[in-house]
Amino acid sequence: MPKLIKHFSHLVLPVSVMTLLIIINLIKGADYFRITMVNGAFYGNIPNILFGASELVILSIGMTLVTAASRGQDISIGVSATITSAVFVQYVLQAGEVTLLTIVVGFLLSCVIGLLLGAFNGTLVSVFKVQPMVASLILFTGGRSIAFMIDGKLSPILANDISNQIGTVIPGVPIQTPIILTVVFIALVAVLFKTTNLRLYVETVGINPNAARLNGINPKKIIFLTFLIMGICTAVAGFIAVNKAGRHDSVNLLKLIMMDAILAVAIGGNSLIGGKFSITGAIIGAYTIEMLNRTLLRLEIEPATIKVFKAVFIIILMVLSSPVVRVFMKKALDRFRSWRLSISQPKENALSTTNIAEKKEE
């Protein structure tokens, strides 16, 4: 059992945050977990969180991998998703009658675009050794106008039944489609990790690229690969987002989602300077962020002030998990223990223990 705890020690932070949020919500109203059936599908706080966080979860997975391998963050993910979904929308709109095949082909097409965008960033990072954030700044700067050009006008509307069902629910299925898609995606990622050495390679490259090379791993290829995976993630996220929205808003679609994705990675207990990583942590982190957003809404905090609370919450979280504070708390705990010890022991002993404690402090 202790081994199990140790194995999941990196999840302590995200899980405790989530627990805290749940407690707050339960205090606010005991009906937090209530799920209702509307038109044959589940609704309620939890389904809403799962529904709302779909894109963020998918992008956080890609962000975790990119962060781990290249020791930096891709800030173009929202923009990339906007471009891939623009291609998807154009393909669907030009295909007169919309069948499931159209959607699937359109989605695959957008995946190809996602791969291309990932390859663009990946080349800059792996071949030209540009910092990921700087490399992705290029697409971040120019990408939305590319998406606008693909659209040809402001906000083309995606009005067909299949899109609508992908964005909401398929009749007869009680769970909202984006949730299902996300679960499927997570499952695919899990299979990827089970059947390949992706984790070992990415961590090795992220920790020590020189050693990786000397042991036969090509760091450039691995970094490039993580950006390709990120490309797929953006395509899937864009696909879900645009079907949810029902129209393609090239200016605001998934705007600033990279901030939340990076945050999810950090809350999940991952270092932003690469190395060992936890996808599970990032996924929980992503859901936590969505839960936080919805909790603030549920507490009826004025929309204008929500960001202030969010900022304060993140700062407190980061302070608590900062290395300096952790060391400090550990020391405080030790002193508390020796203090307790001194109470339970005879007096002479007590004196000497406190002396030691004082010595340590100075």
């Binding site: 800059l124 540009v130 290029i138 120019g142 106008s145 945050l263 960001k307 993140i314 900062s322």
Partner: protein
């Protein structure tokens, strides 16, 4: 490894300087191109001054950001802090006790407060700068909308006077089509830019603090071993960045005269792009503050060129992206050429820098 016994009296150009020189040369070439292509707008001195007049806040923010980046950090809260300052100043100026001096204090106070908060968390609690300044961004945006949601036009007479105040350079100007001489005008913001540029660039070059920032950005562990107070140095860089964001906010409202929720939104990314074009590396330790205005102006001139060419405005963003691409790849190639010895990249002989070129320049002295 170079052989030790060959004594080179002249030092080669440092990375900071070579990147700055490239940026400066490209800017000059581009401006000359602009003059040749569109003589009737770019030949006017006023066009050049307007680049400063209208974009002073961005340049000021970039200056502060460059210092943080040289120290090895990043500050993405600057745009939001700048926006918050404009709104706070507007609200303050429109209130009964509003005064210009007070507004300046409000601006500086907000900026420094953000700088101290973020600097403390990053330097002393060792939290990742990206996350902290991201929270700073959220905090500033949240405070901005909490403070006031609708645009405020500042009508206070003294302030309007300040807003419309121009320094007229009588001897420099152009004749319009009617042959009437129009002297060039400089806004106060431009003056502030120049003053700050001189102060901060000198600070980085000639002060102990400035050199410590370079040392910390180059290798923070070594810097600590060399006896530099690394934490304090990092802390101060963020305070300076907050301060410049505050000043930028005041200059912003001095230029537009209104507080608005959208003020300076997204400016952090523009500032990062400007800093990179100006030759400051995100890794830290390399950069030249004089590159900050050069980087900003390069981005702006490109946009002006596109506008002058009458192309759809949507292309501006794309061209900015392309320009950034060009600079980033160029910098990367140059850096790897210079470091080829360390990374072991073999170059064909015709690409190798000869010994002569390596010893160009007199170094930093």
């Amino acid at each position: 490894m170079a052989s030790v016994n060959v004594f080179k009296p002249k030092a080669r150009l440092s990375n900071s300087n070579i990147l700055f020189l490239i940026a400066a040369v490209i800017f000059v070439v581009m401006y000359l191109f602009a003059i040749i292509s569109f003589p009737n707008s770019f030949m006017q001195f006023q066009t050049f001054f307007d680049l400063f007049n209208l974009n002073a806040p961005l340049i000021i923010m970039t200056l502060g950001l460059c210092i943080v980046m040289i120290g090895g950090g990043i500050d993405i809260s600057i745009g939001a802090v700048c926006g918050l300052v404009t709104m706070a100043c507007a609200v303050f100026l429109e209130s009964k006790m509003g005064s210009i001096g007070g507004a300046v204090l409000v601006a500086l106070g907000i900026g420094v407060a953000f700088g101290i908060l973020q600097g403390y968390l990053i330097a002393y609690l060792e939290i990742q700068p990206f996350i902290i300044t991201l929270s700073g961004l959220f905090l500033a945006q949240g405070l901005l909308t909490t403070l006031h949601k609708d645009p405020i036009n500042v009508t206070m007479p003294a302030f309007v006077g300040l807003r419309d105040f121009d320094i007229v350079i009588a001897w420099l100007g152009t004749r319009n089509r009617l042959g009437v001489f129009i002297p060039s005008e400089i806004k106060l913001g431009t003056v502030i830019v120049v003053v700050l540029l001189v102060i901060l660039a000198s600070l980085m070059k000639w002060s102990r603090f400035g050199r410590n920032v370079y040392a910390v950005g180059g290798n923070s562990h070594s810097a600590m071993m060399l006896g530099i107070n690394v934490k304090r140095t990092i802390f101060i860089t963020y305070v300076l960045s907050g301060l410049t964001a505050g000043i930028a906010g005041f200059v912003y409202i001095m230029t537009t005269g209104a507080g608005n929720v959208g003020n300076a939104a997204g400016a952090e990314m523009k500032a990062i792009a400007s800093a990179i074009i100006g030759g400051t590396l995100l890794n830290g330790g390399v950069g030249n503050l004089l590159g900050a205005p050069i980087g900003t102006l390069t981005l702006l001139v490109i946009n002006e060129l596109i506008r002058a060419a009458g192309v759809q405005s949507n292309f501006q963003a794309m061209v900015s992206g392309l320009l950034l691409y060009f600079f980033i790849v160029l910098q990367s190639v140059i850096m790897s050429l210079r470091d080829r010895r360390r990374f072991g990249i073999a170059l064909p002989p015709w690409l190798r820098l000869s010994g002569k070129e390596q010893t160009v320049g007199q170094g930093e002295s």
